[in-house]
Symmetry: none
Amino acid sequence: MDRFLSNTINKVDKKGRVSIPASFRPILGKTSHLYILSSVDQPTVDAGGVELIERKEQQLERMDPFSEDYELYSFVLHGDSTELKIDGEGRVILSDSIREQTGITDRAAFVGRGHFFQIWEPEKFRAYREEARKKVAEMRRAKSGGTTSEVSGGAIGGVATRRGEQNT
Amino acid sequence: MDRFLSNTINKVDKKGRVSIPASFRPILGKTSHLYILSSVDQPTVDAGGVELIERKEQQLERMDPFSEDYELYSFVLHGDSTELKIDGEGRVILSDSIREQTGITDRAAFVGRGHFFQIWEPEKFRAYREEARKKVAEMRRAKSGGTTSEVSGGAIGGVATRRGEQNT
DNA sequence: GTTATTCTTATGGGATAACATGGGTAAATT
DNA sequence: AATTTACCCATGTTATCCCATAAGAATAAC
């Protein structure tokens, strides 16, 4: 497996630590660091290995280094990102900036997105997921006057609600 | 880790000293000096090891030596640079020129920019960051009507606001 | 097929090290 | 001499390391 899939909700302990889902760990590679970029339009952050940053740096390199766009993009990419150290048990401690961005307090939802994953406040994730499902259903309805039952049936998996529960 | 990432706000003590974030220190190499260049278009200064100056000189070489840009760039590059000594605890004392340029009084924001970092007056940083995030979001929206956070991603979490708070 | 055994994981807590910060004092500067 | 700067040491806080444990999951044994 080489992609981040499924979602899990883990607890944030009183020291601010959360376990990265065990299934995500090997995909991050041997690095003991987790890189974080916060989303501009949703209350979530993107997380992954260095490649997450490197991928964006490559996009930067294709831009004119003297342009305003380059300046802004580079500022946001490097100045607004975060590097979390992963401890021996596969945990990270969430920084204040991440908590601000996501609203996370005592539980965090880890959501696989392919070559990266996101970290959400569980309730916000649930709401966003619900909304996304609705929109997808509407789209389909609009396209093919058919019923929605098939669509709403199982387009997107359920949200894990307790320790260790996952959608695999 | 070999790039300057994330941002931190540190306190300037009554002697004028500030700690360089510990995560930035190793990237500077073994040099006990911090090189400073004041920014032309923002109230901030660029900081880094010797490579910072060297890199800028290389950029200069690529410019048309008869252009006005070259003249100005060369002027600020060589005229406005400073060298700060780093003490045993990883602190530097901010010069008057840096304080003038940035408006820093009692707190300083250290902002990673990849191969160098910037030092801002925290409030000014917060404002610029907000603006940058907004513009990047617009950039993204303009390029692709898409809504995935991977596309819109890139911006990041909140600004540290008190001593020691960081995005690590 | 069912039960026992071993492994994984998530989670907690204590001990320790790292870090930002403060202050004292001697060495330089002016 | 009066400041300012470099070097030391002190301290509270936070992060990091290490070990423990419960609950499941996977595997082996019966």
